[in-house]
Subunit: 443 residues, 2 copies
């Protein structure tokens, strides 16, 4: 893509309305534009990144056998009255009257609607487990929307739901999502730690928040540092293997503030391992048994003819919020350098030809390289503007493509100034550059 | 995918609530489930098809240089007051009050919001043309939602907007979309004819509806038959070439009923070429100049410093409606056989092993073939249920994968009963089958 053709309104300075760095950067490089309080449009750069995140989330859901469906944004109030949450949910729920004067609402979450689908379609234990997910816009009418898309009103979320015939099976489903979440965040190059958490308006007695560390985070966390060294590489989707994984994580204290207990923390975590800090919630999983299936009468026939209310869990990932979370984790705001993980980068590489009024040989060279890279499936953003070199570099450092090629007058025929963003420049042949990027993309 | 693991609730008979064949089939094979009047959830089979249609629509937008953005579903009322449509739009607009008592609405279309984005980001004629599109849920509070997703309330739509500095440039943009629409519908194996149409609440003086013929369609059309023989194969994205294309189509009378004029029709179309029938609108394009840019003050600086209100057009494709439109065009409801175009088929091939209580060799064989096809990037739905053969065939004929392999006891070692749905069966080697499908997928 040539930057002259891209709708990418770059600001010289940070906007005064933005107080955290993800919000600043997203406005600065034109990833989003606010349309009303807590409601944003996504411009090409931001959308491209969000779509890549969405696809990674989707792939990891599919890998555990979850099926994608798509529920509407507007829900009938009746099912929320059945579950008992219609009155409880409070003002965060956007309530709507349609032209027939029926009570509708913009879904803040989908436990009721998915339970309604389940009860009308699935009748037998033989069809279990059912793992269903969708990726859809949600609305929560926050009192004070803030921090850009981090705490906004209309947001994009993956929410999954599991249906099982008993607690044991249901915990197996829960653990599949537990693993799947670790894998999803790893692919986004985030260290997201599962923390025992409160269940809030979703309900139930078992819940983990997946939290990445960030000073600007709104979640206060208390953890044993050693939990950050764990990984899931030896885990399979087998039941036992997942149980081992859960135990491995459960051995270290790690909770959000609602679950915090000072005595326990100090008893279980030696002083040198204590970590008290802030983080951003990027995922949240819940097990709540028959909290919804019972009032909504969602049951299956067991062998022998008995009926059993299905045992359910729900599993959310904030897809739009992850865009901001990655920025919080990766953006060096002192030096104004962003580096997107290659897996979600808007473009793999920034091609930066020096501009010279009387000599466009650098741009011509860059255009040739652009075509060559494109042939090799490397997605390139070329700065064909007439800005000076330092402002081009500054801009590309903010946009954050992981690699850069700089084309000056002195570029030799077959060697180019190449660098991974924020690292040293090397002179490499184009073939060599293609090899390096292709190899990293495969990882 | 094994059918036993797929949430695909097949009904034995047509549901009485469905009166047109797309609605019947979509309920019959579990593509959608109604959650309230005119609002549907998409189940795995339906969603998979819709996502493929969405991707084709997206690719064809990208090919003409349109950039993808994503505007929110909930819009502020202020911009609609600026354009003057807030009061005009009537009860089809879903109006909402948020917790701060602000007037919001669920976007039925996006002229205002995209104009608001444009005016705040684009200042100079040098940044023109801008072609922006998004694919997002819309809501129109229909008085009588009906025909399933064909006339529903919450629907999925691609809407694009063009911004140019004068009429001449703007018509060039209009013509790009005109070509792009012909290409999009061709890839969906639909013959969609552009018909001069009324502009309705969008406004302007130039508009085409793209209509496919269907007896169940709600649009009445009057056309010269010869327009169905035209094609765009010699057209490029050059201005002149597009003008030639437009002239080619304009030479034949073809209008929707609001534009119908009996005298003109009879004067311009000889009796044997007259076609009066019904169709389904799958796309609609509009040119309306400065209808929105003027009241909303969206202007650019021209060379010399003059300001000019931008000239705009808008371009819609009903992505969710297309799922139903393709069924209306392709479903043989007498024989209960659907055949999806390979480009959007939920699976390329249905693998149908005969079930035998005491001998599962057919299923084993099928599982091996399944793996082999998967290796070759052929997406297969295998019926591993214990239903009898004729009910399996019946089901797969409804689901409509374009190809079928039947595995009976008598299948010889290396040859299999293969057919394109609704055609004759041949005995072919697996390699041969893979070759046939792969070749067709490339087309």
């Amino acid at each position: 893509m040539h930057i002259s053709k891209l709708l990418i309104p770059i600001l010289k300075n940070n906007s005064s309305e933005a107080t955290i760095k993800s919000h600043q950067l997203m406005l600065r490089v034109g990833m989003i534009k606010q349309s009303s309080a807590g409601i944003y449009s996504w411009l090409p750069l931001g959308l491209k990144i969000m779509k890549k995140i969405e696809q990674i989330v989707r792939e990891e859901q599919n890998k555990i056998g979850a099926q994608e469906i798509l529920m509407p944004t507007i829900q009938p109030s009746e099912i929320w009255k059945e579950s008992g949450r219609y009155d409880d949910y409070g003002q965060e729920m956007l309530r709507i009257k349609d032209r027939q004067n029926r009570d509708m609402l913009y879904g803040p979450t989908n436990e009721e609607l998915v339970t309604d689908i389940f009860r009308s379609l699935v009748k037998s234990y033989k069809s279990l487990p059912q793992l269903l997910y969708h990726i859809q816009w949600k609305f929560r009418d926050e009192m004070r929307p803030r921090f850009g898309i981090m705490r906004c009103r209309e947001f994009y979320m993956k929410d999954a739901y599991s249906f099982d015939q008993n607690d044991e099976h249901a915990l197996y489903s829960y653990n599949k999502f537990f693993l799947s979440y670790l894998k999803t965040f790893k692919r986004l190059e985030l260290t997201a730690i599962p923390m025992a958490a409160d269940t809030g308006p979703i309900g139930g007695n078992l819940s983990h928040e997946f939290i990445i560390l960030a000073e600007t985070g709104e979640s206060k966390i208390f953890a044993d540092k050693r939990i950050f060294e764990l990984d899931y590489s030896d885990t399979s989707l087998e039941k036992k293997s997942l149980e081992t994984l859960r135990k491995k994580y459960d051995q270290y204290y790690s909770v959000t503030d609602e679950k915090f207990n000072k005595k326990e923390f100090e008893k279980n975590v030696s002083e040198e391992n204590r970590l008290i800090t802030k983080g951003i919630e990027v995922g949240h999983i819940f097990y709540f048994g028959d909290k919804y299936s019972k009032p909504m009468n969602a049951s299956v026939d067991l062998p022998g003819g008995m009926k059993q209310f299905v045992k359910m869990g729900s599993y959310g990932i904030g897809v739009s919020r992850l865009v901001a979370a990655i920025i919080e984790a990766k953006y060096d705001d002192k030096n104004e350098i962003m580096k997107w993980p290659l897996s979600v980068a808007p473009y793999d590489l920034a091609l930066i030809p020096m501009y010279n009024k009387n000599d466009n040989s650098a741009l011509e060279k860059a255009n040739n390289i652009y075509l060559e890279l494109k042939k090799n499936n490397i997605d390139v953003l070329i700065d064909d503007s007439d800005e000076n070199f330092s402002s081009k570099i500054k801009k590309m450092n903010l946009i954050g493509c992981p690699f850069q090629i700089i084309i000056g007058k002195k570029s030799e025929r077959d060697f180019f100034e190449f660098r991974e963003i924020n690292k040293n420049t090397e002179n490499l042949s184009l073939n060599n550059i293609i090899e390096i990027i292709t190899k990293q993309k495969k990882n």
